[in-house]
């Protein structure tokens, strides 16, 4: 090999210069490649984002000239119990949209994965179905289920629990959990499919080894299945937490934030402030805060995900 290295001529000074200048050009090339996509991204995402942030510094009713108020909208938002409360409602919705579906999804996926049921494809489809239906349709269907003469109350009456029957969406205590359960129903399918994919990748040998060591189904789940799908759990958590925080369609279609303000969420407040009340400054303030919140939560989740993968 020594001969070949000697045979290769040392690059001349000129060649080196030429190469350097070519590399100088090529430093710009990647940016030229991404420029078209970036320009679209900037025009339709970055620009509106910056504009929204700018609007949040103004008091503007869309018909009169805007008035600059600095961070006045933010101060007002943090002092308004109703607006702050809507962020609290979102936190509760995360329980129903993310935590509960991941717990349920883990159980369902583990069972489906272990049992090797016949017609797995069928069950997968059924479980995933809620994801395919438009949220507006889901919301209308659940509104009927929850109504006074809906199936849920009918079932309670059949079981002799007629005293518990109520207009669920009009009840101050139960409206938010009722809306949350719609989310659980929708998101569980997505989470299950994600987890099933992760579990399918896990080698059968590991389970066999565990079984030889005398592990039961529960021990198997905690020793092998759960660690194997940590990555998928992070992905599922990211998607479902974002869905919980962005929730607008279900609230709009079922309760419009009522009764009182007990199911109002930030996205609904953005809509209502901008289009209902004509207060664009406050609407964008809530929107920017919500965007930052989602960004922050995802940052944390992704950090956790990276750690999980490194382990």
């Amino acid at each position: 090999m020594a001969t070949s290295s000697r045979a290769e001529p040392r690059p001349s000074r000129l060649a080196r210069q030429r190469r350097a200048s070519r590399e100088g050009r090529s430093a710009a090339t990647p940016y030229l490649y991404i420029a078209p996509a970036f320009l679209l991204y900037a025009a339709f995402l970055l620009f509106p984002l910056v504009r929204a942030a700018q609007f949040s510094l103004y008091a503007w009713d869309t018909v009169s000239p805007a008035k600059f108020v600095g961070f006045g909208n933010y101060v007002k938002m943090f002092n308004d119990p109703d607006l702050l409360g809507s962020f609290g409602h979102s936190a509760i919705l995360i329980l129903f949209y993310a935590v509960l579906p991941i717990c349920l999804g883990l159980v369902v996926a583990a069972i489906l994965n272990r049992a090797q049921v016949r017609g797995l494809g069928f069950f997968r489809t059924v479980i995933f179905l809620p994801q395919v239906i438009a949220m507006v349709v889901v919301a209308v269907a659940w509104t009927r289920l929850y109504s006074t003469d809906g199936s849920i109350n009918a079932l309670l009456r059949i079981l002799g629990l007629g005293d518990l029957a109520r207009a669920w969406l009009g009840d101050y205590t139960f409206a938010l959990p009722a809306v949350g359960l719609i989310g659980t129903w929708v998101e569980t399918g997505l989470v299950t499919i994600l987890l099933l994919a992760g579990m399918g990748r896990t080698s059968r040998d590991l389970y066999e080894a565990a079984r030889l060591d005398g592990a039961g189904p529960v021990a198997e789940f905690f020793a092998i299945t759960l660690p194997a799908v940590r990555g998928e759990i992070v992905v599922a958590a990211t998607l479902t937490v974002v869905a919980a925080l962005k929730n607008f369609d279900v609230i709009y279609m079922t309760t419009r934030g009522g009764p009182g303000t007990s199911t109002a969420v930030p996205s609904y407040q953005v809509y209502n402030q901008a289009f209902g009340l004509g207060q664009v400054g406050m609407a964008t303030t809530i929107g920017v805060t919500l965007a930052l919140l989602i960004f922050g939560i995802n940052l944390v989740l992704n950090r956790l995900g990276d750690q999980a993968v490194e382990d």
Binding site: E23, A27, V63, S64, A167, R256, G258, P259, G260
Partner: protein, 461 residues
Amino acid sequence: MKAYRTGGNVRWTRAVAAGVGAALLVLTVGCAPGVGTTETTAPASPRASVNIDPTSMGNVTLTIWDQEVRGGQNDEITELNKQFQAKYPNIKLDRHAQSFEDLQKTGRLVLTGPDAPDVIEANNSRSQMGAFVTAGQLVSLDPYAEAYGWKDRFPQSVLRLSSYSTNGKAFGSGSLFGLPQVGEVVGFYYNRAKLSKLGLSVPQTWADLEQQLKTIKTAGETPLVLGNLEKWPAIHVFGPLQGAHTPADEITNLALGNPGGDWTDQTNLAAATELQDWVKAGYLNSDLNGAAYDDVVAKFGKGTGVYFLGGSWNTPTVDAALKGDVGFIAPPPVEASAGPSTTGGTSLPFAVTSASKNPDAAAAYINFITSDDAMKVIAAKGNLPVLHASELAPASGVGKEVYAAYELVTTKGHLLPYLDYATPTFSDTLGAALQDLIAAKKTPAEFGAALQKDYGDFIKG
């Protein structure tokens, strides 16, 4: 070599980032929202002379944005447009119809843009007409009212609902900014068969009504039904209740967001207390806050409940469902001799925009579609005309009773404005507070305090 390349990348990245940042800044700074779109400020001072002869206006095109898309409303405006077109072929009408909700949202935007229509239906409320007047986007119709004699055509109680001071501060007085076509009144629909089966006749006084509710409840029926999931329907129940307790002048001040009212006074407290007592006594369906408005109207149509308190626009629905076995009364007055007081008003008034190049033609159009002849067309197409309701009433049925109730309220009693006109945020505040009051999450005093805060802050600001 490696170091050089990385250095190059960093330089490039910085350059690109700086460029993009600068571009975004240039695009945003210096164009604050709303600036540059409202050059047409300063309401044009009322013109000294106006032309009221449409044939002499030359060839012009009028762009009209209305929300008369539902059955009878669409029929009525289509017919009137056809007649106008036949009479004045030199004025071409370009109609853009959209739903109420859509017009509420797009109206604010189109008025500030370059394609503003000549005529627009603007909701009377402070969040719509009030905001447009404040921003100088509507033309004062005073000179036209003078020239066409609108002040003789329309009663003051109707005109005040589309009158603002030119700075938009006072509502209910000042200059006229629009004219409506259709009247609305909130009252009690009743199931004829059930009422007579219970041996009851239509109540003559408020005390009669209270007694009846109790009797009906004892007999095992639901006296009064309402679906309040959407929050606004209870406003139409509270309105007549308030009319029975609070002086009409004060309600008008509260509803128009003018000084002179107090949501925490004894009369309003009594109204709120009575509503909460009705709910506690089971006079209303127990799923009130959780049932959708239209669902409950449909149930009433199928025979649930004896009374339903709602706006006159429900007439076709309940009449068809109960096959004519339904009646309508204005809320009975406290004193049998007095006229009834209840929530009501008009459909959205037609207004002329400051951007219109042909305000004379626009005013001529509004004059045409609100004339006495137009009222006949409006009634013939199944709508409650804002004028001459008793003369144009149907010969029989619930329609006749609705017209009679409207006429009685507008001539003998008080047609109280919708309470959510008051402030830009009041429909939200009142809707949520009423749900709280109904669910006993707020005491009547707390209910009053919540409303007073919104109203009081608006008056001060």
